[in-house]
């Protein structure tokens, strides 16, 4: 959305003089209050906390925390689980959300109602989502009740048993998708809205079918939107935490729950910070990967 089309207004400035310098400074002056505000309340304390990751309890600089991190009991598992969840949740959400956005575009009756229902989880907290899905997946919960009433099972299935990886993953993926697919859908829809309608019409006149129009016109033009959506969703997915904890306890450790366990379970802020540094590193890498691989030539949207 944002990286797509800066129309170079700033560069068109008249050369020379204080006015030009002011112009060059304008974007920085506009950005400054917001960035300073965020920096003061979040980045600055976070920097201090990240510093702790490289210090001993008595304040000497060290990498020992990262050595302990790698040797941490659930380190390997939590890395695996984090990436497993990302690898399932992100593609599923974007595929389904794209479908939902297309459905919403196809002039269904009752579309207003559909959109209302599809977007309400936007306003639901991860905590509530965890509780809601716990009532479904717990072994004497609604899913097993339904299966049992339909005589599909004899005994309740332990979806949340620590040794039932597919069950645990299913529960977390369902809850996370339910909670956050609305956001992805809204972002994608905003992108679709921004595609000039005449492009699609032109393609139709040229004889392109619905599917070809979708793959050859809509999807390529959605790239900048998808980029923003992917960046937002991936960063938040790395932080997935409350839902995982509510549903799986220690059954499915992820990097974010390990951060919490070290901070609040062991009150070892060095280790918690080391996990936080790792998470920040991973999500920055992911963001940069999206920025470079999905880079679109500037001016796609220029009207």
């Amino acid at each position: 959305m944002t990286a797509a089309a800066p129309p170079h207004v700033g560069r068109r400035s008249i050369r020379g003089g204080g006015k030009a310098r002011l112009r060059a400074l304008t974007p920085y002056l506009l950005m400054a209050p917001a960035l300073l505000f965020i920096a003061y309340f979040l980045f600055w304390p976070a920097l201090g906390a990240f510093g702790v990751a490289f210090q001993t309890a008595s304040g000497q600089w060290t990498l020992a925390n990262f050595q302990s991190l790698v040797r941490d009991t659930d380190f390997g598992l939590s890395v695996r689980n984090t990436f497993l969840l990302l690898a399932i949740i992100i593609p599923v959400e974007f595929a389904v959300a794209l479908g939902m956005a297309v459905l919403a575009q196809s002039r269904l009756r009752g579309r207003g109602f559909f959109l209302y229902v599809w977007s309400f989880p936007l306003a639901i907290s991860d905590l509530a989502a965890g509780l809601v899905w716990l009532s479904i997946f717990t072994s004497h919960g609604y899913l097993n009740s339904a299966l049992q009433s339909l005589h599909l099972i004899q005994h309740p299935i332990g979806f949340l048993n620590y040794d039932n990886l597919p069950g645990l993953v299913l529960a977390v993926v369902a809850a996370e998708t339910w909670r956050s697919i609305s956001l992805v859908m809204v972002v994608i829809m905003s992108g679709i809205q921004a595609i000039p309608a005449d492009l699609g019409e032109a393609a139709e006149i040229l004889g392109a079918g619905a599917w070809r129009r979708f793959t050859k016109v809509t999807v390529p033009l959605l790239k900048p939107t998808l980029q923003v959506g992917l960046m937002l969703r991936t960063t938040t997915a790395f932080q997935v935490f409350a839902v995982v904890l509510a549903l799986t306890g220690s059954g499915l450790p992820v990097l974010a729950t390990r951060t919490e366990t070290w901070a609040y379970g062991a009150r070892n802020y060095q280790m918690a910070a080391a996990y936080a540094v790792l998470l920040l590193l991973l999500s920055s890498l992911a963001t940069m990967a999206y920025l470079t691989t999905l880079r679109t030539p500037r001016g796609v949207f220029q009207r």
């Binding site: 005994h155 904890l245 306890g249 366990t261 901070a263 609040y264 062991a266």
Partner: protein, 448 residues
């Protein structure tokens, strides 16, 4: 549309600014000459909705001042608040109620008042058990907290499990061994196809109390100690037992923060937990459950107590009020009232759990506690002593050991050697001497 929304937004902001967010402390209308004013009372106990209300409406109602009882979702957040108040040199919290283990992380930061003078005044008309007072010193000469309530851990058993179909022959449920519990669980599993023993094994030391099961029950019962025999042959035998126990334990136990819910839902028929975390099941289904002591092992019946203490942060704005509140809460009537509200036992000598406000299940739990004390082979385990800020990490190491051996099926001796190194590092860093039931050490406690 925008015209309709913005005035509401502006009005809300003004309202917020006008109210300042928090109602200003209103001194309660004169309730006698010695009204001590507003006392901010932060507690890690009594979070559940109904307990919170009982504390405010029943226990604190007669206090000669206004005590505001608040609790955070986890004790860790309470600790954050105290730590920050100390760093800022400004405070809002007057009285702090935490479990012993949470106090240990605060003591080294020197953020709590020395309550020795207050204790001396209180001891004019009430006596506290010396062992509990020593806990409150946290390994120093200062009285960092004054004991308020205590509790212990026990097993709750669904009466369905008592059926002779399941209960092994000739077994006394009030004097079980770990092996008998395993056989019991196996019998149930054979008949029902389900694993119905329960352990609270949700992650982290804040969520569940599995670490206390290991430190205070399993280890003392099998090794006679808590620390020194951590990787001994006896310990290996204990972990083999735990693996067999886990084979009859509901695998959803890793999501349980407490057992009261799975007991009621039938996911668990028998299990071990903190008495207050069994409460809802015992209270709501009094005819369905009995409480019995934890099992014993080759070295005896290991058990542990929980102590909740009251402390005053150095930054407390109303110290006189705080002392008055501690005085109030350790009176015998309030000991019983708070015990009944929170499902704990009183600590003050001679206070009996009697009266209409004491629920039957609490009396039953007290009966179990009496059995621990009366047992000649009991091994009383103390909460980790002298580890200071390392105590939570020390404790997490026990949980991690459980994870690796029982959940991940790693080789027992390898894991024990590995985790023993971690424990020893923590003991060395804190220069902690051994504490009971381990025998006394000269210098830092050494894992053998």
């Amino acid at each position: 549309m925008r015209r309709r929304v913005w005035p509401a937004v502006v009005a809300a902001v003004l309202m917020g600014a006008a109210c300042g967010g928090t109602p200003a402390p209103q001194p309660t209308a004169a309730a006698g000459p010695a009204n001590v004013g507003n006392v901010e009372f932060l507690s890690s106990q009594g979070q559940p909705a109904n307990e919170n209300q009982k504390m405010n409406n029943q226990v604190l109602a007669a206090f000669n001042g206004h005590a505001d009882f608040t609790s955070s979702p986890t004790a860790a957040q309470d600790l954050d608040k105290i730590t920050a108040e100390q760093k800022a040199g400004k405070g809002t919290i007057d009285v702090l109620a935490l479990q012993h283990g949470d106090f240990t992380t605060l003591a080294p930061t020197d953020s709590l008042e020395d309550l020795t003078p207050l204790l001396q005044r209180l001891e004019k008309d009430r006596q506290f058990p010396k062992a509990l007072l020593d806990y409150g010193k946290l390994g120093t000469q200062k009285q960092y907290y004054i004991p308020w309530l205590q509790a212990t851990y026990m097993m709750a058993v669904n009466k369905k499990a008592l059926d002779p179909k399941y209960l092994p022959k000739g077994v006394d449920v009030n004097n079980l061994t770990y092996d008998q519990v395993i056989t019991w669980g196996q019998n149930i599993q054979k008949a029902t196809g389900e694993r119905l023993f329960g352990l609270p094994a949700a992650p982290g030391t804040q969520a569940s109390l599995l670490h206390r099961f290991l430190q205070g029950y399993a280890y003392p019962s099998y090794t006679g100690g808590e620390v020194t025999g951590f990787k001994s042959a006896d310990a290996v035998q204990m972990w083999q037992m735990l693996k067999r126990l886990w084979a009859v334990t509901n695998p959803q136990s890793t999501t349980y923060a407490n057992l009261q819910d799975p007991l009621q839902s039938g996911d668990v028929w028998l299990g071990w937990d903190h008495q207050a975390r069994l409460k809802d099941a015992l209270e709501k289904m009094p005819d369905q459950f009995i409480t019995v002591p934890a099992p014993r092992g080759p070295k005896g019946l290991g058990y542990m107590s929980v102590i909740v203490g009251l402390a005053i942060p150095k930054t407390a704005p109303n110290k006189a009020g705080a002392e008055a509140l501690i005085d109030y809460l350790t009176r015998s009537s309030q000991q019983v009232a708070a015990g009944a509200a929170l499902s704990f036992f009183p600590v003050v000598d001679g206070v009996k759990l009697t009266g209409s406000q004491v629920p039957p299940y609490l009396n039953a739990e007290a009966g179990v506690a009496a059995k621990y004390v009366a047992n000649k082979n009991s091994v009383v385990a103390l909460l980790p002593v002298g580890l200071g800020s390392k105590s939570d990490q020390f404790t997490l190491t026990y949980q991690d050991t459980f994870t690796r051996i029982v959940l991940h099926n790693e080789d027992i001796q390898t894991v024990l050697n590995d985790q023993a190194t971690k424990l020893q590092d923590l003991l060395n860093a804190a220069r902690a001497a051994c504490w009971p039931p381990d025998s006394q050490s000269t210098g830092t406690c050494q894992i053998k």
